[in-house]
């Protein structure tokens, strides 16, 4: 009964909330009314916007020694998660079956080998643990972090952990636990800081445009 709920209506519900929530938030940001800047631009705002979307992936050289943990653990977590989300064999199969199948035809891609899956997961866990511990132990992040930040970190960890526990793919209960935590994650996503996964693009673009008009690379 619960299995049908988790595999059925709750899945569709969570997917709907996730999709609509993200589209709604992004639309209000990207298409929101903006006052035109009446000053005379020195450089191009658009080129600044596009450049900054990519330039912020690299930390400033002078800053790096002071933020090494956030940068290293941050990349370990994000890259590991990205890799296992889209290239782990069970996920590739899931995505193919649920999103890319239509009338007998389906689209999928080559998953990474199992050992790569394991390594990616370990990087992701290590990174996330270090980041969350940093959030709790560093006075700056402790002061500025909100309940939202902690819930997001822990929810992400639970999703990853339940996935790990179900790795053998032999017990339906464990698969359902993982799927259920994913569904909770999807519902929570649009109402939380997890939205940064999408909003970082317009944010970087806005700032890049501001500096671009002034002729400063940012």
């Amino acid at each position: 009964m619960i299995a049908d709920f988790i595999d059925g209506p709750f899945w569709y519900f969570s997917l709907t909330v996730f999709t609509i929530g993200i589209i709604w938030k992004l639309v209000t940001i990207v298409f929101g009314k903006r006052k035109a800047d009446l000053s005379v631009a020195r450089g191009s705002g658009i080129s600044g916007a596009i450049k900054t979307i990519f330039s912020r992936f690299k930390a400033d050289k002078g800053m790096t020694p002071h933020i090494r943990l956030q940068v290293v653990a941050g990349y370990m977590f994000h890259l590991g998660l990205f890799a296992l989300l889209f290239f782990a064999a069970p996920h590739v199969l899931f995505l193919e079956e649920n999103f890319f199948s239509f009338e007998g035809m389906s689209f999928s891609w080559t998953p990474m080998p199992h050992w790569a899956f394991i390594i990616a997961s370990e990087f992701a866990f290590l990174g996330l643990l270090m980041l969350w511990l940093h959030r709790v132990l560093n006075p700056v992040s402790r002061l500025i972090s909100t309940a939202d930040d902690h819930i997001a970190s822990i929810l992400t960890f639970v999703v990853m952990l339940t996935g790990c526990l179900a790795l053998l793919e032999s017990f339906n209960e464990l698969r359902l636990l993982h799927r259920f935590s994913v569904e909770l994650f999807l519902i929570y996503f649009p109402f939380s800081r997890l939205m940064h996964a999408f909003t970082f693009i317009p944010s970087r673009a806005f700032t890049g445009a501001w500096f671009g008009r002034r002729g400063i690379s940012s």
Partner: protein, 362 residues
């Protein structure tokens, strides 16, 4: 337990006594005496195939068997080690492991009952000294969290059959065991990496030095009230460090051998690794009880060092006098006011500045 005739403190004390007695009783129920050993019943009927199989076993042991299949252990038809290993695991490791863990837990509880929390003689002063950086604390807690997860899942796997199946039933336990095994296998390498990071970060401060023997001979200040000397880390902490590193490495290496079976390990190596893994784990878990106790309930002012990175100077002077002196000499003391600022806890006064200009230009 009456409450008209005993003070609140006595009531609490009595409660604790009863709790511990119940716990000891419960643990006794689980004592080695109750876990049955499994072994083959002696056969009274002469099996005609006996001679054949004895000969097969003999030839296996003397390496006379050949096979067309060229892979690890392909010439091993009977593994006599396996029986020994199985019996070791089912009788000795499980039984003695449980016994050791219980005894350590009980000893610690008794110690707390009789010695109580080791408080600072002069109390907390509010003047702080920086002890651990953010990175060091992150490393410690990461190792701790991963260790607890691994210990939990590992103990479920080790003691599950005798202890948990009777309580949870086979079906639920199989789900739990599967989940524990997957989790244990994945987090093992993370433990290894964290351990190495801890090794490199703290090794210099943990080299045994002058004064450490004195500390040991005086019982580390745990027995009686004698003053013991210590540097940044005292002898007890250093010993805990080396136990962690050595047993941790043994666990990690044997764990890696177990979790990556595709490198030509035969059954014998796997069995040996399991034995090392199990014994080292029991040792590490039981000593960790002591570490966790002392770092939290056991001594006043200790947990702060790992939570905030700062310790009270009085704590430093009482437990690590040589390091405290260094702090004094190098002027590293931080006042309570400055400490509050560093923790972001200052709330400013309400300094209001009215501005007539604002009224004019509105």
């Amino acid at each position: 337990m009456s409450n008209r005739f005993m003070s609140k403190h006595s009531q609490k004390f009595t409660c604790q006594i009863y709790f511990f007695l119940y716990l000891i009783f419960f643990l006794c129920l689980l004592s080695p005496l109750n876990v049955s050993a499994s072994g083959p019943a002696a056969s009274k009927i002469n099996n005609p195939s006996n001679d054949l199989w004895i000969s097969v076993r003999h030839n296996t042991e003397s390496g006379k068997v050949t096979s067309q299949v060229k892979s690890v252990d392909s010439t091993v038809l009977i593994n006599p080690q396996a029986d020994r290993w199985t019996r070791f695991r089912m009788t000795q490791l499980i039984n003695y492991g449980l016994f050791i863990l219980s005894v350590v837990a009980v000893v610690i509880m008794l110690f707390y009952l009789f010695r109580g929390r080791i408080k600072l003689e002069e109390g907390l002063s509010g003047i702080m000294v920086h002890r651990f950086t953010d990175y060091e604390r992150i490393l410690h807690w990461m190792l701790a969290i991963v260790f607890i997860f691994l210990a939990g899942t590992g103990l479920i796997l080790l003691f599950g059959r005798p202890l948990l199946i009777p309580v949870l039933g086979h079906e639920f336990f199989s789900v739990l065991a599967s989940a524990s095994k997957e989790g244990h296998n994945l987090f093992g390498p993370i433990f290894f990496v964290s351990l190495l990071l801890m090794l490199f970060r703290f090794v210099r401060r943990n080299i045994y030095a002058k004064g450490d023997l004195t500390w040991l001979l005086k019982g580390g200040g745990l027995i009686g009230k004698s003053h013991v000397t210590g540097g940044f880390f005292n002898m007890g902490e250093k010993t805990w460090y080396w136990i962690v590193i050595l047993t941790g490495l043994a666990i990690s290496v044997s764990g890696l051998v177990l979790v990556l079976p595709n490198f030509g390990q035969g059954r014998v190596i796997m069995e040996l690794s399991h034995v090392v893994h199990g014994i080292a784990a029991i040792i590490l878990v039981s000593v960790s009880f002591g570490h966790i106790y002392l770092a939290t309930k056991g001594t006043e002012g200790t947990l702060e060092s790992m939570k905030t990175g700062y310790v009270d100077i009085k704590w430093a002077e009482e437990h690590h006098d040589r390091w405290a002196k260094e702090c004094h000499d190098n002027d590293r003391l931080i006042s309570a006011e400055d400490y509050a600022k560093l923790q972001g806890r200052v709330v400013l006064d309400q300094n209001v500045s009215a501005s007539p200009l604002m009224e004019e230009t509105k």
